[in-house]
Amino acid sequence: MNIGWYLAVSALIFTIGAAGVMTRRNPLVVLLCLELMLNAANLALIAFSRMWGNSDGQIFAIIVMVVAACEVTVGLGVIVAMARRSVPIDVDELRELQG
């Protein structure tokens, strides 16, 4: 398949993830949609890496995966802390960061 097809799939997944971040109110699902957007970027990086026949883009994708794992860890830690303190798990209700 041509590289353009992969880029089209990547753009679609990124758009779906962006729509989810804007429409969902559960912070867990918002984190999942952020994962979708990061994965779409990964797919584009690897498609361009294949386009040039150069492995540098794959290293970039691996680093993006590491950053995504860090973001998930901290985000889930915040959600667990919210559940412990009986704060409503709703993005619209959360207006302050004071612990």
């Binding site: 590289i3 992969y6 758009t15 999942l32």
Partner: protein, 224 residues
Amino acid sequence: MSGLFFFVAALGAIAGAIGVVTLRNSFYAVLALVGHLLSLAALFLLLRAQFVAAAQVIVYAGAVMVLYVFVVSYVSEGPFQSTPGAVTGGARVLAYLFAACLAAELMVAMLGNGLEAINSKGAQYDPGFGNPAEIGKLLLTKFLFPFEVASFLLLIAAVGAVVLARRRGGGIDPTDRPVLSVMDMVRDERLGSMAESVHAQPAVGATAPAGLESGERPNEEGGW
């Protein structure tokens, strides 16, 4: 044949993404994301990125998603059973409009840019392209600094998650303290705890502050 594989994997990836956004139960949303990640790994394989595909399946679909499942089951068991749904009304229309504009813009930027290589199957590549050996060599030579920074970032994230999600209040109620070993009966219950280290409560062997009964401890919020 690779075209057939591409369409199956791409349809799976897009269907998984739509499932993540639309499914109301967040547990099913996590499962949809697992399917999405597996389809994406198949796409990576079609692009000759074997190592990234394997890492995607093992690290992402394996480890990170298990973390998600644990947190989903932990949170949904709490006092807040009602998980919030999607936004409604004008905000929803505006969000979908913005997403449609974003899709159009991305399509124009990626497919309408006139780059000739986008309409090709890709350049010639070495036989070792995307191999674990090649990726490892690059990570330890050309990209050593980003590699080390990434490992440091993972360490910081792990410590930060522990600090964020730890149990607040510091105090351990001596009545519901589990006895795990013989040493638990002998040593003081606050020995080595975070509350002792920051003097939130009287340390081992110290006298209780004035105004408190000996067995009564202030149940402080906020830890340190």
